[in-house]
């Protein structure tokens, strides 16, 4: 009999980034007894790395802005695949959530009238991103953390969840271990909010940290939830490419928001060539107009000039850079040049301090004196656990999801800045949703012992296999997984590659069954990786299968064998769920937007993905 400690909560929140913290604060405010589980130390979650800003139509810089424009931008950016209701709630509630952060102590940069300053970002019609230099995520997570510690909920640090427990169809608990000493822990909970973030560690080049191992996606899938839109994986156009140790680390879109220019090795400013016909009229006509726009932005004055072509949506810019490099016009280390050095050095250091230090310290490049080298890096997954737009509950009663691990909000491509706002809007709604569910539930559901025993057995396995002759090193398996995903399920996809990728993932499942570890349970990363691989494999297979099934190019999903956008396929979400030991894929109809919102979108049928 293996020992484990037991805790009971009304609501258990798994993940302590922006969404998890906001959900815990809200559920607590609703009178719930709340537990918050974080895989790292509190305040270190991936939110801390977010740089550019949080999108909210406050209209402080461009007074014409309002939620309807933000809603339109979000839907257009997502190629209309977004769950319209989520996009609506997001645009409507983001301003209040940002003001609330301010009231909790967040210190945003200010306009010269003393209001929250907002900057331009790709795909946003108006200057909309509230920010603190280029460390907005840090400001947000610290604000929520410092607010959260006074709300009286329990925080379980360096704790990972490996299994959700169910009583019949309802969720009733979660099992996991503490990283520090490997002791097991059982949480009995009436409702669980997953806020575990993304899947980046399945890819070789990524901006994501070690925590991004698809935990929520894997746990929810195993518990019977469905995953939608998994084919939509965002490659951020600008990651560092050199030196090798930092490849993939994010270079904020804020650089372009502040006027950064993209050039190829010939010094040619190429982005204008890649603007889709349908959006060309939103961008400057020439370099002179771009310059006037930048100068007006720096001076903080209104202008009728249009924004530079570098501020196209991320999917577009990533494809442009990829194509420039592939066709031989890249920089020495396989990227392109991003230049902000033409601006006043002191201003660059003030507005982009962490970029300045990141390049100076890690790459010996002074961004105030010369260009950066950048290239696409896997950054975000738009797809995830399907939830009800208003309550954030998945199809498993009592199981909620918020933030990156949930799906629907961002459609086929997320706009920069919409992630931080997503976290606080839907984190809060998940907290409300979970509390409402618990209030109606009555008594606590049962936690069947056999499920706990099975969870323990699963975690003990890698130690028992340590001496097997076919035992696999979990890090070798992860490396293989990374190669498969990066080679066959990357930015540009086709049927043959995707089929090969899926085949190789099947073979890799055997390796995952044989991963082994040694040593003690005390802070044993090899052991942790053995479990993480299972979730990463679920998410990877879901991505590959969804990508194979979507025979069109839409948003971040680019098929070289189906280059057009298909209006017919735009009516369906791809949904992945567990079917026995296999993976089931269905096409389910997208929620239909009501007529009053439809009016916001001009009638333009297009088959061009851009």
């Amino acid at each position: 009999m293996t020992n484990y400690e037991t805790h009971e909560h009304d609501v258990l929140v798994v993940g302590a980034g922006g969404a998890g913290l906001r959900a815990a604060i809200e559920a607590s405010a609703q009178g719930m007894n709340v537990g918050l589980v974080c895989k790292s130390l509190l305040g270190k979650a991936h939110t801390v790395m977010a740089e550019g800003g949080v999108a909210a139509a406050l209209g402080n810089v461009d007074p014409e802005d309002n939620w309807e424009v933000h809603f339109q931008d979000t839907m257009n950016g997502g190629k209309m695949m977004n769950n319209w209701r989520m996009a609506q709630l997001h645009a409507q509630e983001a301003p209040d959530r940002v003001r609330e952060l301010q009231e909790w102590g967040a210190v945003f940069d200010r306009t010269n009238k003393g209001q929250i300053l907002q900057r331009a970002f790709g795909g946003h019609k108006y200057k909309r991103l509230c920010h603190v230099g280029d460390r907005t995520g840090l400001e947000m997570i610290r604000t929520l953390q410092d607010q959260g510690v006074h709300r009286g909920f329990a925080v379980y640090m360096e704790c990972a969840i490996t299994k959700l427990i169910k009583d019949g169809d309802k969720v009733s608990g979660a099992f996991g271990y503490y990283r520090e000493d490997g002791r097991y822990v059982l949480f009995k909970a009436k409702a669980i909010v997953l806020a575990t973030g993304g899947v980046g560690k399945a890819f070789t080049v990524t901006s994501n940290s070690w925590e991004y191992t698809a935990d929520g996606q894997g746990l929810a899938y195993d518990a019977g939830a469905d995953l939608i839109d998994m084919e939509f994986v965002q490659f951020h156009p600008t990651g560092m490419v050199w030196p090798p140790g930092v490849r993939g680390i994010l270079v904020t879109e804020g650089v372009r928001g502040e006027g950064g220019i993209l050039r190829n090795k010939d010094g040619y400013r190429f982005m204008r060539d890649y603007l889709p016909e349908s959006t060309k009229d939103q961008f400057s006509a020439d370099d002179a107009e771009s310059e006037r726009w930048v100068n007006a932005a720096i001076a903080g004055v209104k202008t009728n000039d249009k924004r530079p072509p570098e501020l196209s949506t991320r999917d577009n810019v990533a494809r442009a850079i990829y194509t420039e490099v592939k066709e031989g016009r890249g920089s020495p280390h396989g990227g392109v040049f991003l230049d902000i050095s033409y601006q006043d050095a002191a201003r660059v250091r003030k507005k982009l301090p962490s970029m300045y230090h990141q390049f100076k310290d890690l790459a010996d490049v002074d961004i105030t004196a010369g260009p950066m080298e950048v290239g696409p890096t896997m950054h975000y997954i738009m797809g995830g656990i399907r939830v009800d737009a208003d309550s954030q509950m998945s199809r498993v009663p009592g199981l909620f999801a918020a933030g990156e691990c949930s799906g629907g909000m961002h459609g086929a491509n997320r706009l920069g800045g919409n992630s931080l706002s997503d976290l606080i809007v839907f984190g809060r709604l998940a907290g409300v949703g979970a509390a409402d569910y618990v209030k109606k539930l009555g008594g606590a559901p049962a936690v069947p012992q056999d499920q706990v025993d099975a969870a323990i057995a699963e975690m003990e396995e890698p130690f028992r296999r340590g001496a097997d002759s076919n035992a696999k090193n979990p890090y070798d398996v992860q490396k293989k997984l990374n190669q498969i995903m990066s080679t066959y399920v990357g930015i540009f996809r086709n049927k043959e590659d995707l089929e090969t990728g899926i085949q190789k993932l099947q073979e890799l499942k055997e390796d995952v069954k044989n991963v082994a570890t040694k040593g003690s349970k005390t802070y044993n990363p090899g052991w942790h990786m053995c479990r993480d691989l299972k979730n990463m494999l679920i998410a990877s297979e879901a991505i590959a299968r969804s990508a194979l099934s979507r025979e069109e190019s839409r948003g971040a999903h680019s098929r070289t064998d189906f280059e057009q956008l298909s209006p017919e396929l735009g009516k369906y979400n791809t949904a992945i769920s567990k079917d026995g030991e296999g993976m089931k894929l269905e096409k389910t109809p997208c929620p239909v937007m009501p007529e009053d919102l439809k009016k916001l979108f001009a009638k333009k049928e297009t088959t061009h993905n851009g």
């Binding site: 991936h46 801390v48 200010r110 840090l138 640090m157 925590e211 570890t517």
Partner: protein, 244 residues
């Protein structure tokens, strides 16, 4: 390919030894990469705490050749070829395993600090020049390197009397916020123990965010405490007004 010689502390709860590892050097490599190389190729059980690998999260604090720093910012090419690179956990907090220490004390301290309390009914018109100072303090990534080198905590183990530089920075950020209405000076003086700091500036030296901890946070807090509790003229006026 050139190789680096790493000497890494291995063991649990202070009992352990330094183990030697040879790690191939890539251009631009940092010490955290070298530890990851060991993890992936030599011993998957080696423990290191890290998250972002971009100096934004403050997880990978350790002591490299005796100097406290973030492993993700410690460039391998700063060492002489063949030089032995010693990596050990930060010393001021209880050891867990290999390069990981138990920093939970810091989280307990944070809970004691009265949170941001905005003035009721404030219109939130706040100018950039009024928050510049506070923004410097809010750059803190909680790597706890300042706590690690603080003599009061490291050499005298006075965690019972002094919150440490990290929380002086946090307190200063709250006290100097133009919209905050709480008064934490009694706490700064008594429970937080600002008087313990003897301004050696070691904390400022190791701060990866270049926060001027001593000059901009601790000294102004000391001055405010003096003004509040020890200023004889103010004391006189207070007594006069009270008497009325």
């Amino acid at each position: 390919m050139a190789e680096a010689n790493l000497k890494v502390f291995r063991g649990e709860k202070d009992s352990g030894t330094f183990e030697n590892y040879k790690v191939p050097i890539e251009e631009g490599m940092v010490v955290l990469d070298a530890i990851h190389y060991i993890q992936q190729n030599i011993d998957p059980t080696i423990a290191v705490r890290w998250n972002c690998k971009a100096a934004k999260c403050g997880s990978c604090s350790a002591e490299v050749n005796g100097r406290p720093q973030l492993l993700c910012k410690s460039r391998m090419d700063k060492f002489e070829p063949g030089e032995e690179i010693t990596v050990q956990p930060i010393k001021t907090f209880p050891h867990v395993k290999d390069l990981v220490s138990d920093v939970s004390w810091n989280y307990e301290v944070n809970k004691k600090i009265v949170p941001f309390t905005p003035k009721p009914g404030h219109n939130w018109v706040v100018y950039q020049e009024d928050i510049e100072r506070v923004q410097e303090f809010r750059k803190c990534i909680e790597c706890f390197l300042c706590q690690n080198v603080c003599h009061v905590l490291r050499d005298h183990d006075r965690k019972d009397g002094f919150y440490g530089p990290r929380f002086m920075v946090r307190l200063a950020g709250l006290e100097m916020h133009p919209v905050d209405s709480a008064n934490r000076l009694k706490m700064v003086k008594e429970d937080a123990g600002v008087g313990f700091c003897n301004i050696t500036k070691c904390c400022t030296e190791v701060c990866p965010e270049d926060i001027h901890i001593t000059d901009n946070a601790i000294i102004p807090l000391k001055e405010r405490v003096v003004d509040e509790f020890y200023d004889p003229i103010a004391k006189f006026f207070k007594s006069v007004f009270k008497a009325k």
